[in-house]
């Protein structure tokens, strides 16, 4: 109980509320600019949280995460282009509403649905996570190995159209993580005589390179392309929906929030499918499914509630097991590690203050962006006009400063640039970059727990299959690993027939 009280006191202090406000504003800005993503927004800020206390740092990152997912709906509605991939489903009915002169209403419903979705998922997170973490405390090395393998197994789901490319990226990431000292004996591996590589590649510069610098390169590349036809529409009609309109939407919003939270908990799926699934469900339950796609307000409420609910859901495996279920939560691990905090059950034991403050701040951030969305959304439309040729260089510069800031090291800037170029090339080749990060985070955990388990069992690998929790996680890992291949095979079969 005292942890909750301490967390309340921390979150409701003026300085923390100010940080949440800043994070929310920054998140909405980054979310509403097409081409930006939640992962880029969070990655670029991680190093700047280094000077903050751990709770405030992670609160800032979580606020950016929640707000940026909401921000994606602004450009989806006004510009016919989602600001973030998670906003793609919102375009379907959001833009037709704009064309009908009801963009205000769409933006208002989007803010309220996103806020409620985020709050419901935060409440589920607050209830479920401490209980799950308590259970996870019983884990030994074999269980951690199985959990890490489960986390790594989702790389096959992250390959987009081609699961094979996700796997290659994952294997590449595991090999990158082996650079530096061997975690058991301290033997230097693949350092090529460089003292800078003894500690391996720092996670934060790698993250900034893969997600921010590579995005800056894309913006710079596209800066000279002719402007797209999409014009920024003015906000028309009242933003604040009536009480009756909202009460009508409540069942839809609640259902979509539960869908989003549940999908968020399952690693590897993410916000964009969650939004589409909630959209389909809303259409299935609607009395007027024919209105969907032609400007149904339910078609805005469902995906927005769902994609924002993913934020709380995705934090459950992250905080309780240390498994990042999507790109942003993988980056959030970087935000925790920068303060020496390792996500997992011990985080609740050793740093309960940080975890509970994060829970409360999620609700505050969701309420805050809802208010900002209802009363200040018109100011964010100006940001949509900032050209790529300004954004690109600025993001590149921030990536450089951010990489230097962590340990005053020029080496980190070079690492960032290297991974920025690598990330850009991978994106051009349709190779996903998230598996690399996932593997860099979970690879060392898997290796250490694997080798420790074998030391315990005198080299007998049956230790992983005879312990029930470990065996269950390995079975889930197998299922999660092969599911995308089965899906891809079935799709091909359907195409053939």
């Amino acid at each position: 109980m005292s942890l909750w009280l301490d967390a309340f006191a921390h979150v409701f202090s003026l300085s923390t509320l100010f940080i949440i406000l800043l994070g929310t504003l920054f998140g909405i800005v980054m979310g509403c600019i097409p081409g930006m993503s939640s992962s880029m927004a969070v990655a670029i800020i991680v190093p700047f949280t280094f000077t903050m206390d751990p709770a405030t740092g992670i609160i800032l990152l979580a606020s950016i995460y929640c707000a940026s997912v909401y921000g994606g709906s602004i450009s989806a509605i006004l510009l016919n282009t989602p600001g973030t991939p998670a906003g793609a489903a919102t375009v379907l009915d959001g833009y037709p509403l704009t064309l009908q002169g009801k963009s205000g209403k769409a933006l208002g419903v989007s803010a309220i649905s996103s806020g409620i979705g985020g709050i419901i998922s935060a409440l589920i997170l607050m209830t479920a996570a401490p209980f799950l973490a308590q259970q996870a405390l019983r884990f030994g090395s074999p269980e951690y190995f199985a959990v890490a393998i489960f986390g790594i197994s989702i790389v096959s789901s992250l390959g987009g159209k081609n699961p094979l490319k996700g796997l290659i990226a994952g294997a590449f990431g595991i090999l990158i993580a082996t650079v530096g000292m061997d975690p058991i004996n301290g033997f230097p591996r693949f350092t090529m005589g460089s003292s800078s590589l003894i500690a391996g590649f720092e996670l934060i510069p790698v993250l900034i390179g893969l997600f921010s610098a590579s995005q800056a390169f894309i913006l710079i590349r596209d800066a000279l392309k002719p402007e797209s036809d999409s014009t920024i529409n003015e906000i028309t009609g009242s933003i604040l929906p009536t009480f009756k309109e909202i009460t009508k939407l409540i069942p839809n919003i609640s259902r979509s929030s539960l869908i989003g939270t549940f999908i968020g908990i399952i690693p590897g799926i993410g916000g964009d499918p969650a939004a589409f699934i909630a959209y389909n469900e809303a259409m299935r339950w609607s009395k007027h499914p024919e209105k969907f796609g032609n400007g149904a307000i339910e078609g805005v409420a469902a995906p927005e509630a769902s994609n924002n609910a993913v934020t709380g859901g995705a934090l459950i495996p992250l905080l309780t097991l240390g498994i990042p279920g999507n790109t942003v939560t993988a980056i959030l691990i970087g935000g925790l590690l920068i303060h020496g905090l390792r996500p997992g059950p011990m985080l609740f034991q050793n740093n309960g203050d940080v975890v509970y403050a994060l829970f409360i701040s999620l609700i505050v951030a969701n309420v805050l962006f809802m208010i900002i969305g209802l009363f200040g959304v018109k100011y964010f439309t100006y940001i949509l006009k900032v050209p790529n040729r300004i954004l690109g260089p600025v993001i590149l510069l921030l990536s450089i400063i951010g990489s230097f800031a962590i340990s005053n090291s020029y080496h980190d800037i070079w690492v960032m640039l290297l991974f920025g170029v690598l990330g850009y090339i991978f994106r051009q080749l349709d190779v996903p970059t998230t598996p690399i990060v996932l593997a860099i985070i979970l690879g060392p955990l898997a290796e250490v727990s694997y080798r420790q388990s074998l030391l315990q069992s005198a080299g007998d690998i049956s230790i992983f299959f005879t312990r029930p929790i470990s065996a269950v996680f390995l079975i889930i890992a197998l299922i999660s690993f092969f599911t995308p291949f089965v899906r891809s095979f079935k799709t091909n079969q359907q195409k053939v027939s």
């Binding site: 591996r189 590349r221 230097f404």
Partner: protein, 153 residues
């Protein structure tokens, strides 16, 4: 994308082979994990080559795709200059410092992106550098590379 897949797979196979060869200099304990994943990387990359070959034979859209790829390449010249100028910028910044070099770097990037008004180019570059310096170094306490101005800032 067919050609790109071949190049990507080849590079990944080379990475796998290099790791595998370098693993021979390590103790058996330390080499086990990376060697195993080097094998996996090589295997998966070979599978990608085979998959791409089979798919490309089935595809009849190749010519159109190649035309599209050529269109993208022309624009990518910008990017090459951006990366090269970033390398030069980092090399110089290490000695001279952020404040003195960044306006030139930003000006170059903006010029590369067709900003031709000298006045707004200089104004943007200098003001962005100064604002970043003030916000990060003085307000957020984030270290910025100082270079030769180390004792003055």
């Amino acid at each position: 994308l067919v050609k790109a897949n071949y190049i990507f797979s080849s590079v990944m196979i080379l990475v796998g082979i290099s790791i595998f060869i370098m693993s021979h200099n390590l103790t058996e304990d330390a080499a086990g994990w990376p060697s195993f994943f080097a094998y996996i990387l090589i295997f998966l990359s070979i599978v990608l080559v085979i998959e791409t070959t089979i798919k490309s034979r089935k595809s009849i859209m190749n010519e159109k795709k190649q035309k599209k790829e050529q269109g993208v390449k022309i624009i990518e010249k910008n990017l090459l200059f951006t990366v090269l100028s970033s390398i030069v910028y980092l090399l110089i910044m290490e000695h001279i410092g952020f404040l003195l070099v960044t306006p030139f770097y930003l000006s170059f990037l903006l010029w590369l992106l067709q900003y031709r008004s000298l006045k707004s180019l200089l104004l943007l570059s200098i003001s962005a550098t100064v604002i970043i310096m003030i916000v990060f170094q003085y307000l957020l306490g984030v270290p910025i590379p100082q270079g030769i101005l180390e004792n003055f800032l």
